[in-house]
């Protein structure tokens, strides 16, 4: 029996809130956010899932609740087995889950990234700053309501902006998408380019 299945069997007796999660490959679990530290500690200390491979945030779009999910991928360096642990963030406006930094120091950067991209806060994180975007950036780029083209934003250095009169500007043609939407009846609506042609490289953006 693979290590991950053993671990799941052992887990379910201890935490009744833990349920199976649909997955196409490795065993996966849904865990209530409050149980997350206990479940991760149990998996690490007693089941040998000693390496945190990845932490990923997911935004299920504005209309869905719970909107945000945090997914942990754990790897056992001895049994060579993966397990996926997912926790829905209880609050859609201010998503928050407990941090795993005290279990794996490597969780530090992964959680900073999830905070940077989705605005998910990790309680107990020692240093929750942005990591890929600059400090003071006002948006969360991987949220579904953030456009692919980006939005006009002040660059971090006011002096540089004053000198060059440049900011971070959005891409023309709304930056895509570069794929037709299936299900549209009208071909013009479904066409990728028809999405936003109100402004492009030649035609200036309305309002500028």
């Amino acid at each position: 029996m693979p290590k991950a299945l053993e671990a799941i069997a052992a887990l379910k007796g201890k935490w009744p809130g833990v349920t199976d999660r649909a997955s196409l490959d490795q065993p996966a679990l849904n865990v209530p956010a409050a149980d997350l530290p206990g479940v991760l500690r149990f998996l690490k200390d007693e089941q040998g899932f000693d390496m945190l491979a990845d932490v990923a945030g997911i935004d299920w779009s504005l209309s869905v609740s719970p909107r945000f999910t945090v997914v942990y991928h754990l790897l056992s360096t001895t049994a060579h087995d993966y397990i996926r642990v997912a926790a829905d963030c209880p609050n859609d406006q201010a998503p928050e889950v407990p941090s795993a930094v005290d279990l794996w120091p490597g969780a530090n950067w992964h959680e900073r990234e999830a905070f940077d991209m989705f605005g998910i806060r990790f309680t107990g994180h020692p240093d929750l700053r942005r990591i890929l975007m600059w400090d003071g950036y006002p948006h969360f780029p991987l949220r579904k309501d953030f456009p692919l083209s980006g939005v006009d934003t002040d660059l971090p250095d006011a002096e540089v902006v004053a000198e060059t009169k440049t900011n971070a500007i959005a891409a023309p043609m709304a930056g895509g998408p570069f794929v037709a939407s299936p299900g549209e009846i009208n071909m013009t609506e479904a066409e990728p380019r028809a999405k936003d042609e109100s402004w492009n490289e030649r035609r200036p953006k309305p309002g500028n």
Binding site: L24, A53, D54, A56, W104, P105, N108, P177, V179, P182
Partner: protein, 408 residues
């Protein structure tokens, strides 16, 4: 390298009339030759000793994950070249296998073997680059010239196979772009034969070099526990004594058929990381030779991948069915089942992972890239503390990271 100065003056003498010392803050990068790209290190120094190091990453952030959510699975293949741009062939393969897992596709043995050959060639090329740059960092210029000569030979072979030297985009979901050219395997074999003695010569420039050993032995020691705790993978993890190699432990693409050894270090210092990379190249040659010797015949793409793979161009121009298929592939993308998969491949820098969340359709709903360089760099605040400024350069060189992958 901007330096913030504070000069002690008479006011900074304490009651006993001694000078008080102050910590100096030093910003190294983002444009500094030893940071291999655009890494910036904000350090706090007590004399020559680093007391605090805070890496600043993100200067090369392009939003690859956001881009992936807005294009079809096939369209994203060239973006994977630009992750670890020193080993694009290995990235292509990792991405293709992740999506094939989602689509439940089995690629034929010939395709698997071709992918293994190209991935191992990419590993040699990436380690050659890492070795050369490491050599420069610690003052050994010659190594770089030798290793780049070898790398150039590999790039000739890549060009012949894929049409591009650098950004290859060779793997397709469900296969590879095209079959290998005639006589190519012989030229790869010839490369391997001349490479082994050359590799020994290159390594002999460093292995017992007094300056090199002084600057790497006992420097940047990463314990086994720290290596696992920080999620280090690849040669950096194995140098710390953890024999985890996904090619052996979670075999994919037919790696289980090949006989090779996993190099493991004992001390976890910069020298061990160098030694592990050196040995990995010898093992890569072994894998390539075996894969070529028993290269199976047959198709280089999966027959079931018809709905994913672009049909042959002459068929598109002459047959209605292929024309429609081509049109649907370009506009709506290959239709995938809903679900989620996670796949990690053993890349030159470590485990490159793709977490694909699909809601069906031709576009991933979410694509998370687990970048090995990102995890490998997260240990810097720990490993740099207590080191000298010159050791930091050696540590950075030995960790062998790529910012294109770290920042995505």
């Amino acid at each position: 390298m901007p330096v913030e100065h504070t000069f002690p003056d008479s006011a900074s003498r304490n009651a006993q009339g001694e000078f008080e010392t102050e910590k100096m803050s030093l910003s190294m990068g983002p444009s500094h030759p030893s940071t291999h790209g655009v890494l910036r290190l904000q350090m706090e120094l007590d004399g020559e000793i680093v007391t605090k190091a805070d890496p600043v990453v993100g200067y090369l952030h392009r939003g690859d994950e956001k881009i992936a959510e807005n294009m079809t699975y096939n369209q994203f293949v060239p973006y994977t070249d630009r992750l670890d741009y020193l080993a694009p062939l290995a990235n292509n393969m990792a991405y293709a296998i992740a999506v094939e897992k989602l689509a439940k596709l089995e690629v034929p043995p010939r395709c698997q073997a071709i992918r293994v050959i190209t991935a191992e060639m990419a590993r040699i090329s990436a380690h050659m680059m890492g070795l050369g740059a490491f050599g420069i960092d610690v003052g050994a210029w010659t190594v770089f010239l030798y290793s780049f000569t070898e790398r150039e030979k590999l790039y000739k072979l890549f060009e012949e196979l894929t049409g591009a030297r650098f950004t290859t985009s060779y793997s397709r979901i469900g296969g590879v772009t095209r079959d290998i050219p005639e006589g190519w395997t012989d030229r790869v074999n010839a490369f391997c034969d001349q490479f082994l003695p050359n590799l020994e010569e290159i390594l002999s420039l460093l292995t017992r070099n007094k300056i090199f050993t002084d600057r790497t032995m006992g420097i940047g020691v990463i314990s086994r526990e720290d290596a696992i705790g920080y999620g280090l993978t690849g040669p950096n993890l194995r140098a710390s004594g953890v024999p985890l190699d996904l090619r052996k432990d979670k075999p994919y693409s037919g790696y289980e058929q090949y006989d090779f050894d996993v190099a493991v270090g004992t001390k976890g210092d910069a020298y061990d990381r160098y030694m592990v990379r050196g040995e990995e190249m010898r093992q890569s040659v072994r894998i390539i030779k075996q894969a070529i010797a028993k290269l199976p015949g047959g198709k280089w793409y999966a027959e079931d991948a018809r709905k994913i793979f672009a049909p042959p161009k002459d068929k598109v121009l002459s047959s209605m069915e292929e024309l429609i298929q081509n049109f649907m592939l370009v506009t709506e993308g290959p239709q995938m089942p809903a679900g989620e998969v996670y796949f990690e491949a053993e890349n030159p820098k470590g485990a490159l992972g793709f977490y694909v969340v699909s809601k069906g359709g031709g576009v991933p709903y979410r694509l998370k890239i687990r970048a090995p360089s990102f995890c490998n760099l997260s240990i810097l605040p720990k490993v740099c503390v207590g080191a000298m400024v010159s050791d930091v350069v050696s540590i950075l060189g030995s960790l062998d990271f790529v910012m294109g992958e770290c920042d995505r």
